[in-house]
């Protein structure tokens, strides 16, 4: 059995940064986690990729092609198509044979169309499945844009619009937490609670909220039913955050059934605010909703 995280999310949210820090964290904790860059338009990242799609094809080259005449979007799609046609020939040899504890992170491009309109990523997920991978989707969102309940719903919906195509279990991570002020951070913490239902409860009664009250409730229910963990904070300075994400991913993929590492609290200085959620139970319930058959 091999394990993989597919890291997705809008442009510039910190997918590659997450991968870079994960690599360091893995080295420090002696876990064999390797990163593969699948973004043909990647500019820079600070990890040592196990494989880099840019060795196969580059967006710039495609854009400059006189015959193709493609803009940035078309060129990216072209590249991804090319990649998907070369999974067996190129990617498989690059990532090598399966071994014990095999764990690969795929750093993906941000374009949402890749997931919603093309079956490209679906093909990729299927291929991974055939290669004996268990997969967890990581959807990265910039915490700056999730400052109130409505925006949290918006963010969750963006993630779901992607995940409905891929049909893999996923978690949303909130990036750039380190850049937020204390107050914003406290605000966001409120939304990390398990009940999406209540996301809009605390908001003022505006005509807008009234108009969409029923919709918000209906959506809250869907979100509650389909996400194991709606949002996990990521402050890249804290290894506990990284550990937390890894742990949840482990559970999602069933890396080790008897995970004995405890979920660390996200605000380290607040030991009394213990996270007493029964993640194991939630996880099995979650799997039930996904029809995942082990």
């Amino acid at each position: 059995m091999r394990f993989a995280q597919i890291v997705m999310g809008p442009a510039g949210t910190g997918k590659s940064t997450y991968c870079g820090h994960l690599e360091k964290h893995a080295q420090a904790t002696k876990r064999a986690i390797r990163i593969v860059n699948l973004d043909p338009a990647a500019e820079k990242f600070d990890y040592e990729p196990l494989a880099d799609v840019r060795n196969l094809i580059q967006v710039e080259d495609v854009m400059e092609d006189e015959e193709l005449k493609l803009g940035p979007n078309g060129a990216l799609l072209y590249c991804m198509n090319y990649l998907m046609d070369n999974l067996e020939e190129w990617l498989l040899p690059e990532i090598g044979e399966e071994y014990d504890g095999d764990y690969i992170i795929f750093d993906c491009p941000g374009q949402i169309e890749l997931y919603t309109h093309m079956d490209l990523m679906k093909r990729f997920v299927k291929q991974l499945d055939q290669w004996n991978f268990r997969v967890c989707g990581i959807f990265a969102m910039d915490a700056h844009f999730l400052t109130d309940g409505a925006k949290f719903i918006a963010g969750s919906l963006v993630a779901l619009s992607t995940m409905v195509n891929l049909e893999i279990p996923h978690m949303n991570i909130l990036t750039k937490m380190d850049l937020l002020g204390k107050r914003d951070r406290r605000n966001i913490e409120r939304f990390l609670e398990p009940d999406a239902h209540d996301l809009l409860k605390e908001e003022a009664e505006t005509p807008w909220n009234a108009k969409f009250l029923e919709l918000s409730e209906a959506l809250g229910k869907v979100l509650d039913d389909y996400s194991l963990v709606k949002f996990v904070p990521l402050d890249i300075r804290k290894s506990s955050n990284m550990e937390n994400i890894l742990l949840i991913a482990d559970m999602v993929m069933g890396v080790s059934e008897d995970a004995d590492v405890k979920v660390k609290d996200f605000e380290e200085p607040d030991p009394e605010e213990e996270q007493d959620r029964d993640l194991d139970r939630e996880f099995s319930e979650y799997l039930g909703t996904l029809n995942v058959n082990d």
Binding site: V59, I112, I153
Partner: protein
């Protein structure tokens, strides 16, 4: 990096609070413009002041032009639809004011009034910031956002002559919906003008029920993100019978049975989402159109009208409440956001070199520079006068290009049988 210490300080700090420094703009040689020098050096001031302070005065004055922001996934038909709406509006004798926000597009098939490509050099952004194609779109939009208060001023001026403003956005929907610059642009428009989000989606790809539900989920996320009236515009009905989509929107069972017939999808997330979105379909305007043959444009215009009413009753009160309650706080936050954006742009590259340089590319007076924000004026009367000057000067910059394009457009119009088919 040759960031002037002075401008750097202004960028980080409270640009706009420095209200008495109008005269200091002379320190920056870059402010030099063609035309009357005293007049032009003070132009940059009121623009920044207006972005943060004037909205108070504009409160209640929402009868500006109707702003339609065209958003959608790549190749959904935003540009074609902008063109179609334009020709419809022209036919009705109310030509729209058009703003293109796609820095990487080819020449658009409609007469652009303000074009991000006249302000920011996309290729140069790639070079200066060492960015790939996507990063460069994000950064170009950021650079443009730092100047958006000037655009707002122009739109204000257009109140008298234009009933509509059309805004075409980049193909990468995420770049507009989930970026600081996208928020700044949307929010500053919505704060002053009746603003409607047009979510363009392509019927052809929506025949797959999963793509359909994915699109609708995304549209719904836009509603929550922007809290603006939203029109789901199902485009390209000339190419495919749109009955299926209409059914799926009105009848959950119809959708669900289409879904069940797709064996490759096993999870029931899609049908749960569809159930959850029933209420969305009920509350949101949706129209079937074709940018090609103009089908559905009357429906579209009705939907816009309804949405404008909704803006007045649902959005506007929300905004006004916001203004009352957190006046200072919100403004400060926006200002901070903008300040941060500018700072980032300066520290990570020579931002100035990415703007079209006066006398070289545009050949006209140019106020669009990051470091001109420092000078401001509190004198309202003065500000108004200057605002007009400002508008003139900004237009001058864009005029040449705009004229060139509109001439080109007229040519195209003349050649093609219809506006819609000439370029597509």
């Amino acid at each position: 990096m040759d960031v002037k210490p002075d401008s750097e300080r202004m960028d980080i700090g409270d640009v706009v609070e420095n209200v008495d420094t109008a005269a200091t703009s002379n320190q920056n040689s870059q402010t030099a413009k063609i035309g009357d020098s005293t007049e032009s050096t003070s132009e940059a001031g009121p623009s920044s002041a207006s972005a943060s302070e004037e909205p108070m005065e504009d409160e209640g004055d929402h009868n500006g032009p109707i702003v339609m922001i065209m958003v959608g996934m790549a190749a959904s038909g935003k540009t074609s639809l902008t063109q179609r709406i334009t020709s419809e509006l022209m036919r009705k004798g109310t030509p729209p004011y058009i703003i293109n926000l796609d820095p990487a597009c080819l020449d658009p098939p409609y007469p652009v009034n303000i074009d991000i490509r006249d302000v920011v050099k996309y290729k140069k952004v790639m070079e200066v910031y060492n960015l790939g194609p996507n990063g460069a779109i994000v950064t170009s939009l950021n650079l443009f956002a730092t100047k958006f208060d000037e655009v707002i001023n122009i739109i204000k001026q257009k109140r008298k002559t234009h009933q509509y403003v059309l805004i075409d956005t980049p193909g990468q929907i995420e770049v507009f919906m989930w970026s600081a610059s996208g928020s700044i642009i949307t929010e500053s428009l919505a704060a002053l003008f009746p603003t409607v989000m047009i979510y363009v989606t392509d019927l052809i790809s929506n025949v797959n029920p999963i793509t359909f539900i994915s699109n609708m989920t995304y549209a719904c996320s836009m509603l929550y993100k922007s809290k603006l009236p939203l029109i789901v515009t199902l485009n390209k009905c000339d190419a495919i019978d749109p009955t299926f989509a209409k059914e799926w929107i009105t009848d959950f069972d119809a959708f669900d049975s289409a879904l069940q017939s797709r064996e490759e999808y096993t999870s029931n997330l899609a049908s749960s989402l569809a159930l959850g979105l029933e209420e969305f379909y009920n509350k949101i305007e949706h129209v079937v159109v074709s940018a090609y043959d103009g089908f559905g444009m009357d429906d579209f215009h009705n939907a816009v009208q309804k949405s404008v009413n909704e803006y007045e009753t649902v959005y506007k009160p929300m905004y006004q409440k916001l203004v009352e309650e957190k006046k200072a706080k919100t403004m400060k936050k926006q200002k901070q956001q903008l300040g941060k954006l500018k700072k980032d742009l300066h520290t990570s590259g020579d931002a100035d070199s990415c703007f079209v340089v006066p006398g070289r590319d545009a050949g006209t007076g140019m106020t669009l520079r990051l470091d001109n924000e420092s000078d401001s004026s509190t004198d309202d009367e003065d500000a108004n006068v200057k605002e007009e000057n400002e508008e003139e000067s900004f237009s001058q910059v864009l005029n040449k290009e705009a004229t060139r394009r509109s001439e080109k457009y007229t040519d195209d119009q003349g050649q093609g049988a219809s506006g819609a088919s000439s370029k597509i």
